[in-house]
Amino acid sequence: MSIFSPKPQIRELNPWQDELRLGNRKAVIQRGDILFIAGENVIDITGVFGAAVILVTNNSYYHMALYDHAWRFVHAGWPKVESRDLRSFYLAKSNVTLTWGRPCHPDARPVTEEEARKALDFAEKQIGKSYDVLSNLSFVLRADGLPEIPAFLCKLFQERNWLDDKDKWHCSELVGAAWYHGADVAFVNDMKNKTYLSPADIYDSLYQDVVCTLKIRDGKFKLLTK
């Protein structure tokens, strides 16, 4: 049987976990999982802002969110933080990659249901707050941003106090803060140094593991599992 199938399905296993199924492929996804988003021809506004992120990070994931359940997710998108449904927001597109990642602690302990609930609670409290455009575009001024940027500018943007600024959010800032403030999970070793956090920083982190990937190519679905 082909791993391509008409449409993916979700079935609730319990209040914390869903089963994502496509044909004979299936994966258990759960509340608080990180959703990494890449797309070849995404023309929504997050894709436009994501271009700056891709330019700096060399990573195809330009946007990210927190998975809730039953297809819903919370993300910092334009123009504000919101809760949306994956089916209408991404699954209708023709070329998108959605990867679920699961945070873990430095000692490899998996996150608990209680920790995931706290992370989601934090994210949901930010719903309605504005998208942080300046912060997103400032990725190019990060220490690993564009070369030949004057040192004083790099230093200024390298040490932005993003963890304490809770009035505006960009995508990875919200995911990083939700897990850090909500459950004390840090995706990089210098979270407290207040340096910018990109989708690539979190995807490449030792403290998250890929669970599965749902690919849409020319409208056809493919589910990759472990």
Binding site: R142, I149, K155, F187, D190, T213, T225
Partner: protein, 104 residues
């Protein structure tokens, strides 16, 4: 206190203990990078090349270290996961050289 490095090349780190494994539809590469320079490597990126049995490159990618201020003499483990492709056999990891960077 060491300053941030402004420029570096492939010799900036010792890359060791690299492992490559298949997890059904994914591959996973693990290893460790140690700073050989006298300055702090900020937001170090590494280059991954996955090879087939004949040593031919199948994919190339760039990824980030979890320790974003790698101090002189310090090491940091790394892990990168991606989609498995038929023929993948081994992985090679090197330092992604920087352009001239700003910093302190």
């Amino acid at each position: 206190m060491a300053r941030l490095c402004k420029e570096w090349d492939e010799d900036a780190c010792r890359i060791e203990d690299v492992t490559f494994e298949r997890l059904r539809d994914f591959f996973r590469v693990r290893g460790k990078a140690g700073n050989l320079l006298a300055c702090i490597l900020p937001h170090l990126q590494l280059k991954l090349v996955v090879l087939d049995a004949k040593g031919k490159s199948l994919i190339e990618d760039v990824f980030h270290l979890t320790d974003r201020k790698l101090r002189p003499g310090e090491s940091c483990e790394f892990k990168i996961e991606g989609e498995w492709r038929r023929g993948m056999k081994d992985a090679k990891v090197t330092v992604w050289f920087s352009g001239k960077r700003g910093g302190e």
